[in-house]
């Protein structure tokens, strides 16, 4: 069927099935945002402009040949780590965390770069190594991931740290890490955590972890978001209350209803049917991305593309799981849905890289 798609898309290095999936989700997102944002058209227009910008970035990166990404991988990673260290030293504090770097003209979060830089660096590192990875390479790969992970977690920005950490872990997994090593590491982790819990942690630290895992024990503090979010979702029922008819989000009971908790506002109005449709769309995008990754010409492209696809999955899963009370509260937006620009740019950039890897396969391997 690809032969029939017309030369235009091929000229632009675009992948129609992926593009349709992305457009479907972001279009639905704009519709939901109009309702969740109290019918504020400015909000929707702002988000539409950001999305447009994101698509432009994706389109641009799709034209770049993967060998350029590969060449620049270690440098981008190095600069990213240096910027993270700069944030530690002179970063701006906002909402209690030190994440921002003020460059005079713009403020930006260097941790955002690492969402791309870590998969790129990991793929670059393992591209030339024999696979499945041996022990020394495995340790080196763990270091590459752990350094930015620790720096970001210390800001503290647990959500981004989680994304960066799992991106690295997924590269290891995709590189073919032996099952017995995986099982062994999980086993060690399972053994260490109870010891850590009993002997190292203080009472107040344990309490903090417990609240984190079960926020509903603190209904006026951390649990308020989750309780309100569950009420919004649950009261939506199978078919939902209908667009613009959600009471919880409109009466301000649902905090952050247009940003991190937009999934609850969506589920309230579109019900189980809408929720399952959105989850299916996400699964479709992820599956298509992974499919494209298997077509990559070399190990670098494969590992990078696969890992980027999985970052998207982490966003979608962690956010929907958190909002529905399945997972602890971690500040990650719902990709292509939540209002806000920083992570949107990164996500669209990652799709740009993914498309580039996929669409340059023939010219590269000839």
């Amino acid at each position: 069927m690809e032969n029939e798609d017309g030369r235009f898309l091929k000229l632009l290095h675009l992948d129609l099935p992926l593009l349709l999936g992305l457009l479907a989700v972001s279009g639905l997102g704009l519709v939901v945002l109009y309702s969740a944002g109290q019918r504020n058209l400015d909000l929707v227009i702002g988000q539409a402009i950001r999305l447009g910008l994101g698509f432009v970035i994706m389109l641009t990166l799709a034209q770049v040949h993967p060998r350029h990404f590969r060449f620049w991988s270690p440098w981008i990673y190095l600069v990213g780590v240096l910027l993270l260290l700069a944030v530690m030293a002179v970063g701006d504090i906002s909402k209690g965390a030190r994440r921002w770097l003020d460059l005079g003209v713009v403020r930006f979060q260097p941790s955002e770069i690492m969402k791309l830089a870590v998969p790129m660096m990991m793929a670059w590192f393992f591209a030339e190594k024999p696979l499945p990875p041996r022990w020394p390479h495995l340790l080196m790969g763990a270091m590459i991931t752990a350094i930015p992970f620790v720096l970001i977690a210390a800001q503290p920005d647990l959500g981004t740290a989680l994304v960066v950490g799992s991106a690295g872990a997924f590269v290891l997994f995709l590189a073919g890490l032996h099952w017995f090593i995986i099982v062994g590491l999980l086993g060690i982790l399972a053994a260490v955590i109870p010891l850590f819990w009993t002997f190292v942690m203080h009472d107040y630290q344990r309490q903090r972890v417990l609240t984190f895992l079960d926020p509903e024990t603190d209904p006026l503090g951390a649990g308020y978001h989750i309780i309100q979010s569950k009420i919004a979702i649950g009261s939506g029922g199978i078919y939902g209350k209908g667009w613009l008819n959600g009471t919880q989000s409109h009466l301000d009971f649902l905090p952050e209803g247009s940003t991190d908790f937009i999934f609850a506002a969506f589920s309230e109005e579109f019900g189980l049917v809408g929720g399952c449709l959105l989850l299916t769309l996400y699964f479709y995008i992820i599956a298509r991305s992974l499919y494209m990754a298997t077509y990559a010409p070399d190990t670098y492209g494969r590992l990078l593309a696969g890992s980027l696809a999985l970052i998207f999955f982490i966003y979608a899963f962690v956010n929907s799981g958190m909002v529905s009370g399945l997972l602890p509260v971690v500040g990650l937006p719902l990709p292509l849905f939540s209002y806000g620009g920083t992570s949107l740019v990164t996500i669209m950039a990652s799709f740009g890289i993914l498309i580039s890897v996929y669409s340059h396969r023939r010219t590269l391997t000839r």
Binding site: F173, L174, G237, D252, T365
Partner: protein, 645 residues
């Protein structure tokens, strides 16, 4: 799931081009992708399952919860506590004031309404900008303030046809007021609007309804006590979210009232006595550390600061060369001059460098062994033969040059440190400075050169690098009067629960007493200070006193206050007069007040500063407040022959 079929078109053959076994790696990757797809499918299915659990199985429960979810929490702002002096004279209260508020959803054409309002009352662009800024963060059914502090005329002109402006309303709130204006402003301080920086540090729950916070003085140091605890009410709202009725209410706990240890009458005496000078007077009750008066001249009116002082007035206050905003009592640092001599004498006794009878011949100058330079005594012809008592009473510099040299700077430092010199006394007011008590260590750290013997001589008469605040000097006088019993100075006398009117006195904060090797060492020092007033450098203030005073004059050469300020440096070139200092306590037999006076460029400590201290002590000990002319008449201001030190 037949994934294998889905991916069957992989161009496997194209991949066999590299050194590594690309085909094998590709194969491995493919298998891993399959595993991950399964994992992803299961994860997203778990979320879907969770949705089923919430939206199907528990739908009824959450629908009920959503329907009853019409309850909001609203903060109830507590009333800020009042401030009184020690006798219950009101120093700060809250006055009802009025501001204009707009509920946007009830206004048809917001811009037209704003334009029409503008024709009636003064509305600045800043007001409108703030209104729009607040409006963006608030739902349309909430009232947004447009103008604060409406005048009576404005209220009158608006009230008549307010009906023509639906959604516009005049609301009452409370504004902090300082009825005595500038009196004791440096102790009381003022409140102001919460700024962005403070907002980030504050407990959002406690300050969700508050607009003001203490900025300086007691208003700041006792912010926690004065603010009170914010209450909450649960309000049931209709479907649009408008409040219908109050369901439950946790009333706010109003802030505690505060009684200062300051006697506002004594404060008035001190401030008036200082009028015409820049300077400070601090009076302390030595028996418990309570500050009785804390005067700093010049003063300013705190009332304009409450709702934001206008730029021109602020600039005038801030750039005035007299620096009225500076709290000289605890932030002005001055060379203490001869007022430290009693402490030096005590140090000499404690380290057994001298005894009370050791004498020295004062020829009018002092010379370091092997150095030509003459360190001069203030008295050109010298004091002749002096012992400790005469050295304090006549303020003989040569005696203390010699004493300081024998003590050495480090022992001086260690001893005076015990009297809180060179470090803040810890008074319960913000921003206190610690002055500077030099040591060899300090000089090595800060200056390029090491310590010289000449430096020690200067410190011995309270000059050179030595700097102290008026509060530190008053505190030292208080400790001297109590022979080492030490209380931390404080301005809090009591707190009061405003509802029950029960007062809780503040406990004195006793510090470990300052012990000297022999308790009799205090006697010659205190006797010397008595003889300062009875026949010594300050003999004129002893005339006609109905109680016995122990004191010490001081005259500090001028080059200090301006150490950090260019303004002052220029000014000092015109004003080359010395700072006048005096410390005292009285009555000698049972000291009830300790005073420190500093009059910048006042000339001599004995001619200028001592009479001011006498006025304050007379007022406190003899209860002489009523008539100002009377209290000035008590200490005749004779222009005596220059009587420096």
């Amino acid at each position: 799931m037949n994934f294998h079929h889905l991916f069957a078109k992989r161009p496997v053959d194209e991949l066999k081009t590299r050194d590594k076994d690309n085909t094998a790696e590709s194969e491995l990757f493919f298998h891993r992708v399959l595993v991950l797809l399964l994992f992803i499918f299961l994860s997203l299915s778990a979320v879907a399952g969770r949705l089923v659990f919430l939206q199907v199985l528990n739908h009824e429960r959450f629908t009920t919860l959503a329907d009853s979810n019409r309850v909001r929490l609203q903060p109830l702002t507590p009333t800020r506590g009042f401030i009184f002096d020690r006798n219950g004279v009101l120093l700060a209260d809250n006055l009802a004031s009025y501001h204009l508020e707009i509920v946007r959803e009830q206004v048809k054409d917001l811009n037209k309404t704003l334009e029409e309002l503008r024709q009636r009352i003064a509305l600045s662009d800043a007001d409108i900008e703030r209104f729009h800024k607040l409006a963006r963060r608030s739902p349309p059914y909430n009232g947004i303030p447009l103008r604060f502090q409406l005048t009576d005329e404005e209220i009158a002109s608006l009230a008549i046809d307010l009906y023509r402006f639906p959604g516009v309303d005049i609301k009452a709130d409370l504004t902090r007021r300082y009825p005595l204006g500038s009196r004791a402003v440096h102790a009381i301080g003022y409140v102001g609007r919460i700024d962005e920086g403070e907002l980030r540090k504050l407990d959002p729950g406690q300050y969700s309804g508050s607009t003001h916070i203490g900025k300086t003085g007691v208003e700041r140091s006792y912010e926690d006590v004065l603010h009170g605890r914010t209450g909450w009410q649960q309000v049931e709202t209709n479907a649009e979210g408008r409040p219908l009725r109050v369901l439950s209410r946790t009333p706010p706990t109003p802030g505690q009232n505060i009684y200062l240890s300051i006697d506002i009458r004594l404060q008035a005496v001190a401030e008036k006595a200082l009028e015409g000078y820049n300077g400070a007077i601090v009076a302390i009750d030595p028996r418990n550390g309570e500050v009785l008066a804390l005067a700093s001249q010049p003063v300013y009116d705190p009332n304009p600061f409450v709702n934001g002082i206008d730029f021109a007035s602020y600039r005038q206050l801030n750039t005035s060369k007299d620096r009225p905003l500076l709290n000289r009592a605890l932030r002005g640092v001055y060379p203490p001059g001869s007022t430290v001599k009693p402490l030096m004498a005590l140090a000499g006794l404690d380290y057994s460098v001298v005894n009370r009878y050791s004498g020295i011949f004062c020829p009018g100058f002092y010379r370091l062994p092997g150095v030509d330079h003459r360190f001069r005594d203030w008295k050109r012809g010298g004091h002749g033969s002096v012992d400790m008592d005469r050295a304090i009473a006549q303020s003989c510099d040569v005696y203390f040059y010699d004493l300081a040299l024998n003590l050495g700077i480090d022992r001086i430092h260690d001893f005076l440190d015990r009297f809180s010199m060179g470090r803040p006394t810890g008074i319960d007011l913000p921003g206190e400075k610690g002055g500077l008590l030099p040591s060899q260590d300090w000089k090595r750290r800060v200056h390029r050169f090491g310590w010289f013997a000449g430096d020690t001589l200067s410190v011995g008469i309270g000059q050179g690098y030595f700097l102290a605040t008026p509060l530190q000097l008053a505190h030292a006088a208080a400790v001297l009067s109590q022979r080492g019993v030490d209380f931390q100075p404080r301005v809090l006398h009591a707190t009061e629960d405003p509802s029950t009117r029960t007062k809780t006195p503040a406990a004195p904060r006793a510090l470990p007493p300052i012990a000297v090797k022999n308790p009799r060492f205090w006697d010659p020092v205190i006797n010397g200070m008595i003889h300062v007033v009875e026949g010594g450098t300050a003999h004129r203030i002893g005339i006609g006193a109905k109680y016995r005073i122990a004191g010490k004059t001081g005259t500090a050469q001028v080059f200090t206050l301006g150490q950090t300020e260019k303004y002052n440096a220029k000014r000092l070139a015109r004003h080359l007069q010395d700072h006048a200092l005096f410390i005292a306590f009285a009555p000698v037999e049972d000291p009830r007040i300790a005073v420190a006076v500093i009059a910048e460029h006042g000339g001599g400590g004995s001619s200028t500063a001592a009479p001011l201290a006498r006025k304050v002590m007379d007022a406190w000990l003899l209860d002489k407040y009523d008539d100002d002319s009377q209290s000035t008449g008590n200490t005749p201001d004779q222009d005596a022959a220059p009587h420096g030190e």
